[in-house]
């Protein structure tokens, strides 16, 4: 059944046991994103640590895909230099536009590879992207990262 490619165990695990789910005490930038279609919400906060690496906090409510995606995102980018995080974000966004046909690179995307099946369900792509859009927006607001292309989510 198709659904197993959508709801991979990694996703269910992140959904049930979200990693690093908490807000920051002193965020440098914050973004609240909603999926107006279904009401899914996520707030992502960012700051830089002393070494110039990204610190991420988040909170949200929504479906398994959006919440697992937030958990995976925080795990992937926290502690990396902004440029490295950007690269992962781009790889994830790209993955979502492959219609499920891609073979994602686990070295880059880690648990994010589990979302490959989501790309087959256009209505769920937005769910998976929501936290990543919030990340991008929060970083832009904080003036973090080389990548300023979008200050508002699509």
């Amino acid at each position: 059944m198709n659904l197993e490619s959508l709801y991979q165990d990694i996703i269910l695990d992140h959904y049930k046991n979200p990693r690093g789910r908490a807000l920051l005490s002193e965020p440098a930038g914050e973004s609240h994103q909603v999926n107006p279609t279904c009401g899914d919400e996520v707030t992502v906060q960012v700051a830089l640590d002393a070494a110039g690496n990204v610190v991420v906090g988040y909170e949200g409510q929504g479906c398994s895909i959006s919440q697992a995606s937030a958990s995976v995102m925080s795990e992937l980018v926290a502690g990396l230099a902004p440029a490295q995080g950007d690269e992962i974000r781009r790889a994830f966004v790209e993955l979502m536009h492959t219609k499920g046909a891609a073979e994602p690179d686990e070295d880059v995307l880690g648990d994010g590879v589990a979302f490959v099946g989501v790309a087959k369900y256009p209505a769920r792509i937005k769910c998976a992207l929501l936290p990543w859009m919030a990340l991008q927006d929060a970083e832009a607001k904080a003036g973090i990262g080389s990548d300023q292309e979008g200050t508002s989510a699509p």
């Binding site: 059944m1 198709n2 659904l3 959508l6 709801y7 269910l12 279609t37 279904c38 009401g39 899914d40 919400e41 409510q61 929504g62 479906c63 398994s64 895909i65 369900y121 769920r124 769910c127």
Partner: protein
């Protein structure tokens, strides 16, 4: 005795219902609250119009233009007749949302014009700070946001009638919420998210008692039960064609002649004018005043075929069929562990749209499992976000059947819910 609907026969008229989805599952369409499917008769009527009589209406003197005008106006008369109205009181719009905006803009436009030329408008539509507009907490965004916009433009205040825990209007609030400051009361007849059927007669009577105008959003009632718009007691009634077997791109606004007549134009341009000079223009009588530009002619023709189809079945039969199905749906859902119905649980004064939440599962995930079984339902806030908040849920899953659904469709939906519960271990 109303005639029962022969669902198998009806389904044959809807080619889309023969298709499969996902891995070859037969399609079970339970999302008619969003939009209905279209019978062949509607598709054939639209096509025949394009292939034989397509032309600009109300404009040409050639035979095609005559035929197109005739097709357009005959359609108007048929659709008006379907809801017990006069053709001259029925305005075509692109959807119910435009119809409700047409009503709302009467107020903001009159208010803006009055500031420059008080005598140019009917004072019933002129608002100011201190005036109130009343809606309910179960409105579709289409009957909420336009009134928020009117308030932002005129300084009037938006008020609303709250809901009881079982998804009914809190009628005890009516007299305090609708008071002497109230200038318009706009309410949904049948909620698209809760399924509740509201006592619009009571609300309209109260509106008129305080001198307010009354508007009814009949989007979810007219497709599903016999409605006589003149008997609702309202001044304006809005609904859509696409939810009642008609094409996309056509909506309706019925108005009491005297009220329509007093309303300033909304969208302006060609066909809604009487005379035009560079400096100023005068406007045509309703309904033309509100139909600027080239209208949705083929869509009107298609919708006329849709009401003929519904008439053939009989709206009594439609209502009885859905009532029976609603009872069954409520019963099956209530028998499921961890499923909570959002909206009335008793099958009294309620329509066939049934919303629910499943403990531990987000509606998106429930919907995905139904989809996997071939069942199309809607998940989300159903454009009634404040209603979701009222019930403390981010979203719901909604089953909304129509004339082409039967009990077996509900059974498969229920299987899908159970499959989701099992998969997620809740």
């Amino acid at each position: 005795m109303v005639q029962p609907i022969d669902v198998d026969r009806v389904r044959k008229d809807f080619p889309i219902l023969e298709r499969t989805v996902r891995d070859g599952r037969p399609l079970i369409y339970l999302d008619s609250g969003a939009t209905s499917q279209k019978p062949l008769a509607v598709l054939d009527a639209e096509r025949a119009f394009y292939e034989t009589s397509n032309a600009g209406v109300h404009r040409g003197a050639h035979q095609l233009a005559e035929e197109a005008t005739e097709a357009y106006e005959t359609s108007r008369a048929a659709i008006a007749g379907f809801v017990g109205a006069q053709a001259s009181d029925l305005v075509f719009t692109k959807n119910a949302t435009e119809s409700l905006n047409l009503a709302a803009y009467a107020f903001s436009n009159a208010t803006a014009k009055a500031a420059h030329a008080p005598d140019s408008v009917d004072s019933r539509f002129v608002l100011s700070a201190g005036d109130s507009i009343v809606v309910t907490q179960m409105e579709h965004h289409a009957n909420l946001v336009p009134w928020q916009e009117v308030c932002a433009k005129t300084g009037a205040t938006l008020r609303w009638i709250g809901l009881t825990d079982d998804g009914r209007l809190d009628l005890s609030e009516i007299d305090s919420v609708i008071d002497e400051t109230t200038r318009v009361v706009s309410v949904v007849q049948q909620s698209n998210i809760l399924g509740t059927i509201n006592p619009v007669d009571v609300l309209m009577a109260r509106a008129h008692a305080v001198g307010a105008l009354g508007v009814v959003d009949a989007c979810q009632s007219i497709p599903h039960m016999p409605v006589d718009v003149e008997a609702l007691g309202a001044d304006l009634v809005a609904w859509s064609g696409h939810k009642m077997l008609g094409p996309t791109g056509i909506g309706l606004l019925w108005g009491r002649a005297e009220v329509l007549d007093a309303m300033p134009p909304f969208i302006s341009g060609g066909s809604m004018i009487e005379t035009v000079f560079m400096e100023h223009s005068t406007y045509a009588e309703p309904p033309k005043r509100f139909e600027a530009g080239t209208p949705m002619v083929a869509q009107a023709v298609g919708l006329a075929a849709a009401v003929a189809y519904l008439d053939e079945i009989g709206m009594d039969s439609v209502a009885a069929h859905e009532d029976e199905l609603t009872g069954y749906t409520l019963e099956r859902l209530e028998s499921l562990r961890g499923v909570r119905i959002i909206g009335p649980r008793d099958n009294v004064d309620r329509g066939s749209a049934v919303s629910f939440v499943v403990d531990g599962l987000h509606p998106h995930d429930v919907g995905q499992f139904l989809d996997d079984k071939g069942v199309a339902v809607r998940v989300g806030h159903h454009c009634a976000w404040p209603t979701c908040r009222r019930f403390g849920v981010p979203a719901t899953t909604r089953i909304s059947p129509y004339i082409y659904n039967d009990r077996s469709d509900i059974d498969i939906a229920v299987e899908g819910i159970m499959a989701a519960q099992k998969f997620f271990g809740v």
